[in-house]
């Protein structure tokens, strides 16, 4: 080090300054890309204008419907997804069937929502795969609240199932074995060991799943339509309002941002150390 040249020292000084500066600039750029639109939502109107925007007749039916359908979706996903995740996580040997199941579960995450909408129509629509059977049973799914729930569950399920699977895989297999040796059959092991020990991660996955269901737009629009009070959820109401009244669109967006940010904040608070 004593033989270091002046040029070498200058290069080191330059790196010491330039490298963090470049990193800061790039990172700051990404943060502002996310932050600026949120700031635009929150600060381009006064609070009073935002509250007034909530007086539009579109607003309350959309909020009511969104709370109802996203909660129903969450219940549907948790009640079916928890046993599925448990069964997949407890397979002793990972094999091709398991990989296939995992791929199927992850599919909705990478599918464009519009594709999900078309797919749902082609499965449950009048001319879809199950269309004739559903018609015989007197069930018409498209353009109903049930369709909204199906669309939301389709796109949101992976977020919960994947979190639940990861949680169940982290479970110490010795705890399960000891529980069984103490006489606990599979259901008791699931309810008294599996679920309680995975609870924080299950709650985190459920919150993500709910947030995704709240914001579902594309698949709902195509499969359930945009009928006020029946299938028009908050994101669809924002889309509709945008065409006539930017203020209402903004007010509804602020509501969604507030709810989503609160969910995210709660998630961070509960995250594992």
């Amino acid at each position: 080090m004593t033989r270091q040249t002046e040029a070498g020292r200058r290069r080191i000084r330059l790196t010491a300054v330039a490298w963090p500066a470049a990193g800061g600039l790039l990172a700051g750029g990404l943060l502002s890309l996310i932050l600026l639109p949120v700031a635009g939502l929150l600060f381009s109107s006064s609070p009073r204008q935002i509250v007034r925007g909530l007086g539009d007749p579109l607003v309350w039916p959309a909020i009511r419907l969104t709370v109802l359908t996203s909660t129903a979706s969450l219940l549907l996903v948790v009640s079916t997804g928890t046993p599925l995740a448990w069964a997949l996580a407890r397979r002793p040997r990972p094999g091709r069937a398991l990989r296939l199941a995992e791929t199927i579960i992850g599919l909705p995450v990478v599918l464009p929502p519009a594709v999900a909408g078309v797919a749902l129509l082609l499965a449950f629509g009048r001319r879809g795969l199950l269309g004739p059977a559903l018609e015989v049973a007197g069930i018409g799914l498209p353009f109903t609240k049930a369709a909204v729930v199906l669309a939301q569950s389709f796109v949101a399920a992976p977020f919960y199932v994947q979190a639940a699977m990861a949680a169940f895989r982290r479970l110490d297999p010795e705890l399960v074995l000891v529980a069984r040796a103490l006489g606990a059959g599979p259901p008791r092991v699931f309810f008294t060991v599996g679920v309680p020990l995975s609870w924080p991660d299950l709650a985190g996955g459920a919150a993500l799943c709910w947030a995704r269901a709240l914001g579902e737009f594309g698949a709902t629009l195509m499969f359930a339509g945009n009928l006020v009070g029946r299938t028009q959820t908050l994101p669809l109401a924002i889309y509709t309002a945008l065409e006539s009244d930017l203020q209402t669109a903004q007010s509804l967006s602020v509501v969604l941002v507030a709810v989503s940010a609160a969910l995210l904040f709660a998630l961070r608070g509960r995250a594992r150390p």
């Binding site: 110490d172 010795e174 074995l177 000891v178 040796a181 103490l182 006489g183 606990a184 309680p196 020990l197």
Partner: protein, 249 residues
């Protein structure tokens, strides 16, 4: 086999063949209620795997596990009772106490009683009988190694198992508490009076539990007999180190 199959109707008989993780296991053993059977052997010899096969957590390829004339596993007859129906108590090396339950709830987990209150009462009784009643309301992650060991033993005993499997019951303890705990476990196991199999690393454990010692090397029995017999005629380099030179392995 050194033991004769007539002396104890409650004995556990196992004759198991199977392959787990590249190791071929082929072991026959018999455990009676009078003296625990002690399994020793080098690391990776298949000792824990053998316990897991008796417990029902690993399925062997062939053989049988019988207790008091009842088949827990029988490859030929197609019998393979699930773990929860075998009434085999299992104490794993790291105890595996349920971290989300307090000590009393851990012990109550395996107790069959009509009401929750009755289970709790019996759990407290079980803790008292092992002299650790004071721990009842403690959280498991706060326990010391010796305390956790006793709680795990209390939990296994409270379930009234018909067979007991202990995997390195003293292996995770400091030398200071090991001697005390060894005497304690040996007394309790004797008092329980069911066929018991203990896997251990330490000659002192084998001496304290006092039954037949089965040496397992490479998935097979290389020698069996009482400690004195092993000392007098060690059949392998491992047995010589274990029994004669007292070397820890």
């Amino acid at each position: 086999m050194t033991a004769t199959p007539t002396d104890d109707p409650g004995a556990l008989e196992a004759d198991l063949q199977g392959r787990v993780g590249g190791l071929e296991i082929d072991v026959a053993l018999r455990a009676t209620a009078e003296r625990p059977t002690v399994i020793v052997g080098p690391n990776g010899a298949g000792k824990t795997t053998l316990l897991l096969m008796i417990l029902g957590a690993h399925r062997p390829r062939a053989g049988h596990v019988r207790r008091a004339g009842e088949s827990l596993y029988d490859a030929k007859a197609g019998i393979d009772l699930p773990v929860e129906h075998r009434r085999v108590g299992f104490l794993p090396q790291r105890y595996a106490l349920f971290p989300h339950l307090d000590v009393r709830a851990n012990v109550a987990y395996g107790i069959r009683a009509a009401t929750r209150a009755e289970r709790s009462r019996l759990a407290e009784q079980a803790l008292e009988s092992l002299g650790i009643g004071a721990l009842a309301r403690r959280r498991c992650p706060e326990l010391s190694g010796g305390e956790a060991q006793r709680v795990a033993l209390a939990r296994a005993l409270a379930n009234q198992p018909a067979t007991l499997l202990l995997d390195e019951p003293l292996g995770a303890l400091d030398a200071a508490v090991r001697a005390d705990t060894r005497t304690f476990v040996a007394e309790r196991v004797r008092a329980l009076g069911v066929p018991t199999i203990i896997v251990t690393h330490a000659r002192a454990d084998a001496a304290a539990f006092g039954g037949e010692i089965i040496v397992v090397e490479g998935g097979r029995v290389s020698q069996r007999g009482r400690l004195e017999e092993l000392v007098a005629r060690p059949a392998s380099a491992f047995v010589r180190r274990f029994a004669v030179e007292h070397a820890p392995y």
